[in-house]
Amino acid sequence: GAGVSQSPRYKVAKRGQDVALRCDPISGHVSLFWYQQALGQGPEFLTYFQNEAQLDKSGLPSDRFFAERPEGSVSTLKIQRTQQEDSAVYLCASSWGSGQGDEQYFGPGTRLTVT
């Protein structure tokens, strides 16, 4: 079956622009996660959804970052007024359940470059 897909794969934004990154999780997966990965670093947790409910957004770095999953499937990560420090790969992952015991399936990521 299809895995997690993300779009666009690459995004270049000028500083100050708003961007929207999309994640299509594996069908039927309850949990959806967003991570940010800077160059040479491991992924850092941003936020977590269980169905349509955003249960943890403690990793979002500022109020410029906003995520939604209105129907419990597709999710969008929005970054307003992008800054150069937002340049990173944004990874989406989904899983059947809600604990670390459940394998998370990752998408290929969206590489965001802010110029």
Partner: protein, 110 residues
């Protein structure tokens, strides 16, 4: 979340067995040990998970000593395509956020 420590990088020759170590001195009773693999330009991929002793699947083996303060991921007969970053993670099943750290860059040499 328990912190993990891994070597930054290591090289191995094609066809050899590779053992990748991870230190987690502050592991809690309820914590499991999970390993992910990440290829360039891809998201991480789950490899294996264990609690104690030894776990084996079609890809790798995971060795965990009795004190659980470390673990070793073993990859049999690596090929060039096993070149990747390997992450060791520790956490309990009630915790849904993964804490990756910097991982261990493994390079397989022909």
């Amino acid at each position: 979340l328990a912190k993990t420590t891994q070597p930054i990088s290591m090289d191995s020759y094609e066809g050899q067995e590779v053992n990748i170590t991870c230190s987690h001195n502050n592991i809690a009773t309820n914590d499991y040990i999970t390993w992910y693999q990440q290829f360039p330009s891809q998201g991480p991929r789950f490899i294996i998970q264990g609690y104690k002793t030894k776990v084996t699947n079609e890809v790798a083996s995971l060795f965990i000593p009795a004190d659980r303060k470390s673990s070793t991921l073993s990859l049999p007969r690596v090929s060039l395509s096993d070149t990747a970053v390997y992450y060791c993670l520790v956490g309990d099943h009630g915790n849904n956020r993964l804490a990756f750290g910097k991982g261990n860059q493994v390079v397989v040499i022909p």
